[in-house]
């Protein structure tokens, strides 16, 4: 049971980390908290369901297309809803909250309350460590999550785009004086944040089917992960995501499934008592 719960924790943890990276990126650069993050995660799940199941596309193509569509949707949201609110963080908070409710109800209207599931990528199960059988689909999700996380790290640490992201989140006005078009960067990074939520969504949807409100707990956990790991830290997102994934599943396995989400907040409170800036947070932040 221990090994199984650990594996489940790793799979979910990787997805939490992915969703948290998206939140962290947007908070770090724009100081905007996107309350509709979970609904974009779900949106990508629905897109991949429609494209692969209804339209019969290959699942990889459907996933890539779903993420791309959510990226464009994110850019549209930034342009129409977020951009006019710069200078007042409260407005964007309220607007994205409204957006999340609108999207949830739109999903309910279009897809109904039933769970929808895009086709799995692989079937069968693998004998892991000679200890237990584990679904291949979940293993594939873990690998895919890790690949996307690695991609984000390379993007942020090694490319010009990553350099201007880091510079802008440290000193926005200075970055502008160094020639960064911060208005365009905001739009791109908001889109990218949404695309990361979408990547988490398309990877996990074949395992956990999407429903109109299934994004709420994922987004909530992503916010917890960002605070737990420390604002603006990539490693914080990864480590925090894995910790929460593991705690949640081990707690559910050994204590009670009913308290699944309580464990997260207990961990959060304990960590913040000792390190108020989060695990990898900057002290002054």
């Amino acid at each position: 049971m221990l090994a199984l719960a650990t594996m489940n924790g790793l799979v979910i943890g990787a997805i939490y980390a992915l969703a948290a990276l998206g939140v962290s990126l947007v908070v770090g650069i724009m100081n905007v908290i996107n309350f509709a993050h979970g609904e974009l995660y779900i949106l990508a799940g629905y897109f991949s369901y429609i494209l692969a199941d209804t339209l019969g596309m290959h699942f990889v193509l459907a996933m890539v297309l779903a993420v791309a569509l959510v990226f464009l949707f994110g850019i549209f949201v930034e342009y129409t809803l977020i951009r006019p609110t710069y200078g007042n963080d409260m407005y964007s908070l309220i607007l994205t909250f409204i957006l999340s409710i609108v999207l949830q109800n739109a999903y309910l209207l279009i897809f109904g309350p039933y769970p929808n599931k895009p086709p799995g990528w692989v079937g069968g199960a693998t004998h892991v460590f000679g200890a237990f059988y584990y679904g291949n689909q979940r293993l594939a999700a873990l690998v895919a999550g890790a690949v996307v996380i690695a991609f984000v790290f390379v993007l942020v640490k090694k490319t010009w785009f990553g350099r201007i992201i880091r510079a802008t989140s440290q000193d926005r006005e200075m970055a502008e004086l160094n020639g960064v078009n911060t208005t365009r960067l905001n739009m791109l990074s908001f889109g990218l944040g949404c695309a990361l939520a979408a990547a988490a969504g398309v990877i996990l949807a074949p395992v956990f089917p999407v429903t109109p409100t299934a994004g709420v707990p994922v987004a909530l956990t992503a916010f917890v992960v960002v605070v737990l790991g420390g604002m603006g830290s990539l490693w914080g997102c990864v480590v925090g995501g894995l910790i929460l994934g593991l705690v949640e599943n081990l707690g559910a396995a050994y204590i009670s499934t009913g308290y699944k989400h309580v464990f997260n907040f207990i961990i959060l409170i304990l960590v913040l008592l000792v390190r108020p800036a989060g695990l990898f947070g900057r002290r002054e932040a």
Partner: protein, 233 residues
């Protein structure tokens, strides 16, 4: 090269600068002097596009900068060393310099310019992998200047070079800038009147948002009023 004519600048609803007119010619080094709160930094904010003036015009190589965004002005060849240095503390020295080369004009010859900058400030070469936040104040100032040079600017604006630095280090950095003289036009904004006059050709004096004096630096240095007001002599 830079021609500022009659600008009025506001911070919010408060007017900070009144009818400021300044000219900087190609290859010249000009200083704007004044005490704390005289509006020196606001003037630079107006030139760099951070705080557009409400009236008046700013021409750079004959082109009006009014209405342009800071990142567009940077592309034209204006670079700034901001007050308080504002290096990207969590990025390495090399990454800070690379950020300076982000404008198109800097990116083409990034490697060559970086070698050149490391030549000017050898201390940066030894620390290129270190986070900028771990550098001393003087080293951070050198990094901030190096970062500005990375965009291969034609006009370099320097805000309060001496702020928070030991006199000896200030002197050393000023001397380094003197050696750059023929490559680049420099507009210096300073509270440290003595150093600034010594290292500039012409100077303007700013008092409570208005220009009160201007002239050749060496003559201003001999002026009794200025000696009394700013040099404590």
């Amino acid at each position: 090269m830079l021609e500022v004519s009659g600008i009025d600048v506001f911070r919010g609803e408060t007017q900070v600068l009144w009818e400021i007119s300044i000219r900087v010619h190609l290859g010249e080094r000009v200083a704007i002097l004044g005490s704390n709160g005289a509006g020196k930094s606001t003037f630079l904010a107006a030139v760099t596009g951070v705080l557009p003036p409400r009236r008046g015009d700013i021409l750079f190589k004959g082109e009006s900068l009014v209405g342009m965004k800071p990142h567009q002005i940077t592309q034209l060849g204006v670079a700034v060393v901001p007050e308080g240095r504002r290096v990207y503390r969590e990025m390495t020295v090399a990454e800070n310099l690379e950020m300076g080369a982000y404008p198109k004009r800097g990116r083409a010859q990034l490697k060559k310019t970086m070698e050149h900058v490391m030549c000017i400030f050898p201390v940066l070469a030894g620390r290129s992998r270190q986070p900028a936040g771990t550098l001393s104040g003087g080293e951070q100032q050198m990094l901030a200047i190096g970062r500005a040079l990375m965009s291969r600017p034609e006009l370099l604006l320097i805000d309060e070079l001496s702020l928070g630095l030991a006199p000896l280090i200030t002197k050393e950095i000023f001397r380094t800038l003197d050696n750059l003289a023929d490559e680049i036009t420099i507009l210096l904004v300073e509270q440290n009147v003595e150093q600034a006059l010594r290292h500039s050709k012409r100077a303007y004096i700013l008092e409570s948002g208005r220009l009160t004096r201007s002239g050749i630096s060496s003559e201003l240095m001999e002026d009794d009023d200025i000696r009394r007001a700013y040099l404590g002599l």
